[in-house]
Every structure is written in C-alpha cells, then in structure tokens.
C-alpha cells in the first residue's frame, strides 16, 4: 500500500524539553481504520490544513490534515492523521509541523476509540452546526489520499454525509445514456442549482461516496410548490447502474442536500435515456449556456455510426487504419479535412478511455484527399493547392478493453461528430501496412516514428506474442542429449534447407547437434515437406517450428529458442552457408576458452563475392543513420582486409551466426520481437546479452558465407521506413549506445 507519509524518524529522547506546550484539547480520537486516526478537539492556535505530525512516543511521522470548525479563542477542529499501519504505533503527544521550524503540540492521545459512531455523536454534541464542514473535510481528504479508502472509512463517510445532508427532492427517472457510460437523472429539487454541479453517489461496491460531474437543467412542473423545480441532470461520464442508486448528494451554500431515489422511479432502458433527454430539451429553462451544454450533451452521444459525414460544417474525416494493442494503446491513421479550422477538439473514446487525439497526432501530406474533395460543393473554394496536410497519424496510449471505440469531433459551434474506430488487433502484416504509408521525404517522418509508429510497432511486437506457442514438428529422428541446438531462421522465401543439412551431414562437428528450423511467415509452403525429406535423407534430427507471426528471422528464432534442448545454441540465418567443415568446433572452443563469465561467439561472415559482411561491430561518429551508430566493421571490403588471430572482443556479435549458452540466448532474445528488421534486433540481442554480463567475441579466421536472403532486386519501401523505426526503438532501449556514437 502506498502512503504519503515520510519515513519514520528516530524517536526523540525524552530528556529534550524543547517541545511547545500543548494549547489544544482532544475531545475524541477515533481509529477509523488501521491507517487513519480521526480527531475532534479544540486548539488555541490555528492548525495547518496540510502538514505532518510526529507521534512522539513511536517517532512515526504521519500525514496531518485539519479544518477549523468555527472561530474564537479555541475553536473546534477536525483532523486526520494518516500513516501506514498507524494503529500499530504508540501515539503519545502529536507534534504538528507548522512549517519554518515551528511546531504545535496536541496532547497525548490517551483514549483512542474504535467505535466510529462515537465520532458522529461527538460532532452532534460539540459542533452540531458544522457537520457539513466535517463532511467537506472528510470528502476532500478522500480526494487527496493516494490510497484507496478502506470499508471502515467508507462507512464513516456515509454516516457523516447522512447526518449532514437534508433531503431536497427526489430522483424519479434514471437511465444510462450509452454503452460507454453516462447517466440521466430526472426529478425535482429545491436546492439543486442549474449549471455544472457535482453530484455524489455511493459506490455500489464500497459504499464510498464518489463525485460525478453533472450538467443540471431546470424545467417547470405544475405539481410542485413554487420553491421547487423539475430538474434534469446529465452525468456524461458516469458509469452508474440506475437501479443501484439510492441517493444523489450535492453541496449547496446552505449545506449538504440529497435527492432521494423515488420508490417507484423509472429506469429507462439503455439508449432510451438519450432520446428522452432530447424530448426534454424544449422544456428546459434558465441560462442559455446551461441549456446549450445540455443540448450538446443530448446530441453528443455516439450511436455506433459515422456522423461526421452529416456535419453541415466543411469537416470530413476517415480512417485508413485503426489498430488496438491490448493493454497498450490505439493507433489511428487517416485524414481529416477541416480547411476552416472548425474542429475544436478530437477525442478518442472507448472503454475507460478519453484521450485527445488532436493534441497527440502528427499531420501528414494527403494530396489525394485534396484532389478527391476538390470538386465537392462543401469544399469548393476552401481547398488550396499545396496545402495538403490533411493526413494524420496518432498512437494513443490506452489500456481500455475491447469494446466500442470512436472519435468525437467537437466543433467550435457546438456541433459534434462521431467516427467509429473499428480498432482491430494488430494484423500479421502490421509493419508493412503502416510503414508503407510513411513518407520518408516528409521532414516530420522522424517525429511520426518517435511518437506514433515506433510505440505502435514496439507494443504490437512485444506483448501479444508472448501468448502464442508454436506447434513443433519433429522429423528425422532425435539426438538424446544434443551438444548444440542449431536454430536456423527461415524468414524469407525458401522452400528448402538442403544445403545446410547436407553440409551438416558431411561435417563431423554437427554430430550430436539438433536442428531447429524457425520458419517465419514468408517460408515457402513446401518447406515442411522438403525439410522432412532432407532430414530423413541426411539423418539429421530436425524440428520445424512454424512462427507465422514472426516479423523477421530473429523473431522466429526467439520463438523457437524455448524448444532448444542443448546447453548451447547456434543461431543461424538461412543465408549462412558454411564453406568448410570444422567451423563449429572452432566456435565452441572459443566459448570454452572465453574464461569466466558468459560469451557469445560469431565467425566472420562474407558475402557471396567474399567481401566482408560481418567482422564485428564498432561505434562510429557520423553513422547516425544506423542504430546506435553501430557500423559493421570492414563491411564490403575484400576479406584480405581482415586481421588474423584468435577471438577478439567486439561491440556486438552477429545474430546471423552466433554460438552462445542457451539460458543466455533465452534472456537476450526477450526484446527482439519488437523490431521491424533483424539487424537492429540482432544488435539488441547482443546488448541485452551484455547486460547479463556476456562478452561478444568475433573469430576472424573462421569464415562463412552469409548471403542476403530475400528476392533479388529493389528493397521494399517499408524496409527503409522500418529502419527508421528500428533506429528509434534501438536508441530508446539503449540510449547509451546512441550517445556514445554521437560523442
């Protein structure tokens, strides 16, 4: 349980006699619950509204709040003392901090009561006219408390409010205004003033009074005395069950009042309340601002369909993508035409969510929208060439559950439009979908990545996959206790791993190894069949791990890793092609000799033209376009450039081919699924491994070919935009790396 109390200070030695004399009297101290002490007394000196107090005997410092209930030489006061497990501490005198070094002493709390009813009785006896203030004080304390109220406190509050409040009228008609909440209350009252008010309702579960903002309107009723009015209250955000409401409390200048739920009240069916309110609008009297606000509330109800298209104002809106990542947020991408800036605010609404989109979004160029509406009568003369920033893209953090999501457009003139947000879970091709729409030529591209696409892809790539368990298909027999689990990632079109299995079969190093094939979504449908045939032919124990949701090879590998049975794993891209036998034992030896602590070992990787693809990474100035400024050393140079000799420590291993302990791999691969591409994910793997104390080693003299997988020719556009996202993601995760590169 959280507490606002400061840590206990050391008890003061009793010999110190600098304490101020007590100028107060405690009439009653009631232990409301184990954390809260309620005091009623008098004090000759004004007590602070908010402060701390030292419990002299125990040395505990607790939060202290007080309110004077009158005036005079020694007015009554009510106070609360709050600290975790306060009930277990001896109290003694209370030294209340007055600020600036001063203190006021409250006398020793000799007789702490447990019966809350005694507090109410004492109030009635000593401060009968100040019950409303006591209620104010207690309710305000609720608002300021960080901890949830306990049932005993809730009960006390209810009792005080009950005692303080007088009945002022009745609630006769109740109704929920929509699936996403909202309450209509209609009845009569004498004291409930029109306009914005706060109504308090007891929480059905805890009994604790809870405040709700309400718009109150009045309408004449012939059946009431002249002092009373018909009232209608619209609680736009309240999520209350009409049949559970017993009372609605409200504060007037004269004190607390309540509307009692009429015994024969009407509870309108869901959805009918809004129509009922609209019927009532004509009868409302009073100030125009309130009537207008209620009118707006009556119409500002989302009824499941697009009403933006029916707005009279030149405002139109549509969505291209709406994606909700469970427990993380909602991503919306689309366009809004508003050439005259009529829209005052755009709010994303859904279960438990109300978030301003227009404060978070980034605008993007959408010349196609200008073109499409250029001849629309509503926009004639309002659209201008070159002013095409109609697009928008927004990631809105929201933890709301599945339900009805929509955008609410509030126009300056009070009109409201709604646009359904058909928020779907992230599709498997989320990355290409959203990344293809990012215009790299737009100077705002990096902002879009940092604020929207990055968080979206990170959230979608991380959380949801945890629950997905691949179905593993065994083929070609098993090794009883494999020495190394070779995990091959098939991330691109590839219908076989014949070469790999053939090379393993002719390389004695691979005896005693098992092979796990982590097949991403782009693996050819023929792969399983071809793999089975090859596994049988080459007598290789192979297990196929289909990972259709994988974003890239390393993501697929991460899903396959839990199935590795050997103490070490060799991660390999399908593009890695061994040139000569015997290389695996070189890697194993390097790992054996790595000394204390863990390590991950990569060989040199060459392109098919024998130029260098991987020979370690290094951080470089001026490589800001690369994640963390990490540049593959010697990349593209003839391999003759490479040094000779044994293992060298490098900034990162190559996830395309790396041997490491299986437990380390499992820990290091935790974050790879968030990345769009394998390269940044591979760097993340190394960096994460290093946080677990591992060293990254490179073996210059062990050389393999690693061709770039995927179709020959131009790189898809979304790979370029994905690199922007990955850079952001990597540098967000590893800010030190980026800073070091920049330095």
């Amino acid at each position: 349980m959280k507490s606002t109390a400061t840590p206990p200070a050391a008890p003061r030695p009793p010999s110190i006699s600098t304490q101020p004399p007590s100028l107060a009297r405690i009439a009653l101290a009631v232990l409301v619950d184990e954390h809260t002490l309620l005091l009623l007394g008098t004090a000759e000196q004004a007590l602070p509204a908010e402060s701390t107090a030292l419990l002299e005997e125990s040395g505990l410092r607790a939060r202290f709040r007080s309110l004077a209930l009158g005036s005079g030489a020694a007015p009554w006061f009510v106070a609360t003392l709050t600290a975790p497990d306060l009930a277990r501490h001896k109290t003694g005198r209370l030294l209340v901090d007055l600020g600036g070094g001063g203190e006021v002493a409250l006398p020793k709390l000799a007789n702490v009561r447990l019966d809350k009813g005694q507090f109410l009785e004492a109030c009635r006896e000593h401060v009968p006219g100040a019950l409303a203030l006591v209620a104010d004080f207690l309710l305000a304390g609720l608002d300021k408390a960080n901890a949830p109220a306990t049932p005993r406190l809730a009960h006390l509050l209810g009792q005080v409010l009950e005692a303080a409040a007088e009945r002022d009228g009745f609630g006769e008609i109740f109704g929920r205004m929509g699936e996403e909440g909202g309450l209509l209350l209609q009845g009569w009252s004498e004291g409930l003033a029109p306009g914005a008010q706060t109504l308090w309702f007891a929480d059905p579960a805890t009994g604790l009074p809870q405040p709700h903002e309400a718009l109150v309107g009045r309408f004449p009723r012939a059946d009431l005395p002249a002092t009373a009015h018909g009232v209608v209250a619209v609680l736009a955000e309240a999520d209350l069950k009409p049949d559970a409401i017993r009372r609605a409390w409200f504060r007037t200048e004269a004190g607390w009042r309540f509307l009692e739920s009429f015994e024969g009240r009407t509870c309108l069916a869901d959805g009918v309340a809004t129509a009922h309110l609209r019927d009532m609008l004509g009868a409302l009297k009073g100030d125009e601002a309130t009537c207008k606000a209620i009118r707006k509330a009556a119409h500002a109800r989302f009824e499941g369909h697009d009403t933006v298209a029916r707005l009279e104002a030149p405002v139109r809106m549509a969505l291209d993508h709406a994606i909700r990542v469970e427990g993380a947020g909602v991503f919306v991408q689309g366009w809004m035409l508003d050439p005259e800036a009529r829209v005052a605010s755009i709010t994303l609404r859904g279960p438990g969510t109300r978030a301003r989109v227009d404060l978070a979004w980034s605008r993007t160029r959408r010349a196609d929208v200008s073109q499409a509406f250029g001849k629309d009568a509503l926009f004639t003369g309002r659209l201008f060439p070159g002013l095409d920033d109609h697009g928008f893209i927004a990631w809105v953090p929201a933890t709301g559950a599945q339900g009805r999501w929509y955008l609410q457009l509030d126009l300056e003139d009070g009109q409201v439009g709604f646009l359904p947000v058909p928020a779907a879970p992230p599709p498997p091709d989320l990355a290409p979908r959203v990344l293809n729409a990012l215009d790299m030529a737009d100077p705002r591209a990096t902002t879009v990545v940092a604020k929207h696409l990055g968080p979206l892809l990170r959230a979608a790539g991380g959380a949801s996959k945890a629950a997905l368990a691949p179905a593993v298909v065994g083929m070609g027999g098993e090794v009883a206790a494999p020495r190394v689990s070779v995990v091959i990632a098939v991330a691109h079109w590839r219908e076989d791993l014949d070469l790999h299995l053939a090379r393993f079969a002719i390389d004695p190093d691979f005896a005693g190894c098992e092979v796990l094939v982590a097949a991403g979504p782009q693996a050819d449908p023929k792969l399983a069949g071809r793999l089975r045939a090859a596994a049988q032919f080459y007598r290789r124990p192979v297990r196929l791990v289909p990972v259709p949701w994988a974003r890239h090879g390393l993501d697929a590998v991460a899903a396959a890793l839990p199935h590795a049975r050997a103490p070490r794993v060799l991660l390999m891209g399908a593009g890695v092609m061994p040139l000569v036998p015997g290389w695996l034992s070189d890697l194993e030896l390097a790992l054996d000799e790595a000394g204390t602590g863990e390590a991950m070992v990569s060989p040199t990787l060459l392109y098919e033209d024998f130029s260098v693809r991987y020979a370690g990474y290094r951080r470089e100035d001026g490589a800001a376009e690369r994640p963390g400024g990490m540049v593959p050393a010697y990349a593209g140079y003839p391999y003759a450039w490479l040094p000779e000799g044994g293992p060298r420590e490098v900034a990162a291993a190559s996830a395309d081919c790396v041997l490491l302990p299986t437990p380390l791999a499992l820990k290091a691969a935790k974050g790879v699924g968030a990345f769009v591409g394998a390269e940044a994910a591979g760097l993340d793997l190394s960096f994460r491994a290093q946080t677990h104390g591992a060293r990254c080693l490179w073996l210059p003299e062990v050389r393999l070919v690693a061709v770039e997988e995927g179709a020959a020719g131009e790189v898809p556009y979304w790979h370029h935009t994905g690199a922007l996202v990955d850079r952001w993601m990597f540098e967000t995760a590893w800010p030190e790396a980026g800073r070091m590169a920049a330095e």
């Binding site: 070469l499 002719i506 045939a533 036998p581 392109y607 061709v707 020959a712």
Partner: protein, 440 residues
C-alpha cells in the same frame, strides 16, 4: 579377382543419343571387354517412359548388366533431386546389391548431385569418379558458358557474373547453387574430363586440379570410310555438319558462309551436307534466321536429317571436310573424334574444346568463332589450296577407341583402389558409417 565398375549416365543411348550418353556407354562397353574388369551400366530414364509402381528401377529389355532408373523429380537450378528418399530406396539399394569396386558418374543430371553424398555415406571407402561433359555445374545457362540474350562467350563463372545473366535469381541464390554443387562434387575421389579446356574451367571455378585427369572419349568403331575419290581436276569441296541444329552449334554460321563462297571457288559439285535435326524445336527467330540463310545458299546446302553412329561410315564417304562451327566452347565433341577416325580434317571454331582437339594447320583449320567471313576464307582456302586436304589428313592422330579409353580408366581405378590398400572395397564389404567429406 575381377573388379567391378558401375558406370552411371543421365541417359541411355537407346533413349537419348547425346554425346555424354554415348561416351558413358562406350566406356561401359570398353570395360566389359577389358580382362579383369566387369562393368555395369545404370542410366536414368524419364517420361514419356512410365515408372513401375513398385520400383523406380527398370530394365526395358536392355542388355545384361544394364539397368534404368526412373528419376523425374529434379531441380534443374541446383541439379538437385526432389526425391531424396528415392535415392536411397532405389539407387543405394541397387549399389548395395551390386557391390561395385568403383562407381563412375558420367552425369548426375536428372538424378541429383545428392547421389554422390548418398554413395559416400553408405559406402565411405567406395571410390567415386565423376566425368564432366560440359559446364552444367558451373553455368546455369544450360552449362554452355555463353551469356544469355546475346550469346556472347562467357569467360568466368561466379555469383556476380552469373547474376548478369540471371538478374531475377540474384547473386545470393547463385552463390548457394555454386556452394551446393561444390558440397557434393567435393566428395568425389577423382574427376575425368575429355578435354584440358574443361579442366581449366572447373579448376578456375574451384575444384582441385590434382583430382582431374584428361581421358579422351573412346569411340566404338563401326568401320572406316575411305577418302572420297576425286575425278581428274576435282576439288575437295564437300563439307559436312554433324549435330543438332541449335544456335549454340552454329550451323547458321556455316550455312551463311556457304552462301558467300564465290561460285568459281565452290565449283559445280560443291555441297554442304547437314546431318542433324531438331530445328523445329528451336526458338522461332532462330528458325527464321536459319531458313533465310539456307534460302540464300540455295542448292549448295542439302539436309539429310538425324543419323546414328553405325551410319557414319556411309555418310562420311562422300565428305571431304567436317565443319564444327559451334559458337559455344564445346568440350570434346565426339564429332571431332569421328571425323578424325575417318580421316576427315576439320574446320573448327577457334575456341574451347574445338581449338584444343583440332590443331590448326595440323589436322584442321581454325576460324574465328561466329565469324561468317573468317569461315568463308577458310573454306575458300580449303577448297582452293592444292594438297592442303592431304597434308591435314596426314596430320590426324587417330582417336582412341573404347577399349583404349577403358584401359586408361582402369589405370585410374586401380590407382584409387590402391589408396585403399590395394584390395577390393566392394560395397558389400563396407561398413555403413558416417561420411566425412573433404573441404569444398
């Protein structure tokens, strides 16, 4: 003790009359005739022949010690079998039962290069020999080492170079192809090539030179055609082309050249006899080009259609010169050996296996490959130079026959067997253990 050799071919001459098929069959026959050796012949067969349901091995009423293997699941790009289980089910079963001392591949086309692996795994000490008849492992363009599109000669194979011909495949896949093939070829104990030129190409590509041996293909001699008798004042003006009418074979170059030889040189009885076919299977533009050249050459060109080896003596008797105008490298064309067998000098393109096998101005004349003009000059020289034909005929070295070819192979086989202690290492005697290959 008789030593047993299994000769493997990608086709049986009874069904596919290609040079490699004929050469492999000749070796099989030659070994059968060699004392102390026993040979067997396994050839691949494919549709339209249908496989049996129970076994992909079949006989099809061939000779004793011949068997056919129906293998039709094949990836031409990687020369890879698509029926790996079939390799064990049919091929290895047969080898295990046969217990050869040596297995000699004349090709793996259609069967899959994985057959070498399967052999080496099942019988690690069984010597495996591979004969290369063209550049299929090196070149994805039908093994021709000729650029796609413009048919320029290709001088080097490699992922980058090959991607120029196959941009859609790309360097990565081409590298994978190369490495894949080398993975298996590296497991063979020896390579045989009928030309030094081909050896150089494969060595350039990365196979070890010390594994290579050059042995000419052996001919099966069906009789020798005498020189064409000349009348008084007659000219040696009868030319012949033997081979398929594909663009690579360059018959169009020859026909165009024939049309341009001056009438007074050509003479009244000059002729170009074309023994070959399959023009109708060639791309239409080539057919048009060829027909246009034939039309221009008029009656000088005569078509005789396809032929079989036994017919050769009869065909050669009316021929003075054989022309080999291929615009690709060739390896060791059997046509050259057959021409030499019958004492006919050649006019040959000055590249590759042709330049190696035909010695310029010793037993033939070279002309610039693909050059109609140069060929015209050489034809004019051939017809018009008195005594040249006789000089070149006298310079011909008789090609080896199949028995000599088999002898030379037997020497190699013995050397391989000696590596294993000089004893027969027949498959049945071999323990089945894990194969260990050398580096690629």
């Amino acid at each position: 003790m008789t030593k047993r050799v299994l000769v493997i071919s990608h086709g049986h001459p009874s069904f596919s009359l290609g040079g490699a098929e004929v050469a492999s069959y000749s070796l099989f026959q030659g070994l059968s005739e060699l004392p102390g050796w026993e040979s067997h012949y396994l050839a691949r067969i494919a549709p339209p022949v249908q496989a049996h349901r129970g076994s992909n091995l079949m006989w099809l009423r061939q000779k004793e010690r011949e068997v056919l293997w129906h293998a039709n699941a094949y990836d031409h790009f990687k020369c890879s079998s698509r029926d790996l289980s079939g390799i064990e089910r049919d091929f290895i079963r047969y080898v295990r039962d046969l217990q050869p001392d040596v297995v000699h591949f004349h090709h793996f086309l259609g069967m899959g290069v994985e057959t070498i692996f399967a052999l080496k795994r099942a019988f690690p000490r069984l010597p495996v020999v591979v004969t290369f008849h063209e550049y299929l492992s090196i070149c994805n363009h039908h093994g021709q080492m000729v650029k796609t599109g413009r048919f320029a000669l290709c001088y080097k194979s490699g992922p980058a170079e090959c991607a120029g011909c196959f941009p859609d495949i790309g360097e990565a896949r081409l590298f994978e192809r190369e490495l894949y093939l080398k993975s298996f070829l590296g497991m063979a104990d020896l390579y045989v090539s009928p030309s030094h030129f081909l050896i150089d190409r494969y060595v350039d590509w990365g196979l070890p030179r010390d594994k290579f041996h050059m042995i000419e293909n052996g001919l099966t001699v069906e009789g020798i055609a005498p020189p064409r008798p000349l009348k008084e004042g007659g000219k040696r003006n009868r030319f012949a082309f033997f081979g398929q009418l594909t663009e690579f074979k360059g018959a169009h170059v020859l026909v165009e050249a024939v049309g341009r030889v001056p009438k007074e040189v050509w003479g009244e009885d000059g002729a170009l006899a074309i023994f070959g076919g399959n023009l109708e299977r060639q791309p239409e533009p080539y057919q048009k080009r060829f027909h246009a050249a034939v039309e221009k050459a008029g009656e000088r060109v005569r078509f005789y259609g396809a032929y079989r080896s036994p017919e050769l003596p009869g065909l050669m008797k009316d021929v003075d010169w054989v022309v080999m105008p291929s615009i690709w490298w060739e390896n060791s064309p059997v046509v050259i050996q057959e021409a030499f067998l019958h004492g006919r000098p050649l006019l040959a393109s000055n590249i590759g296996g042709m330049a190696e096998k035909v010695r310029d101005r010793v037993d033939g004349l070279h002309f610039r490959a693909g050059s109609v003009e140069d060929l015209v000059d050489r034809m004019v020289e051939a017809i018009g130079t008195p005594g040249l034909w006789d000089t070149l005929r006298n310079g011909i070295t008789q090609p080896i026959d199949r028995l000599e070819c088999a002898r030379q192979h037997a020497v190699l086989y013995d050397r391989l067997l000696a590596r294993h202690g000089g004893v027969s290492v027949g498959a049945g005697a071999l323990p089945v253990e894990r194969a260990v290959a050398g580096p690629v």
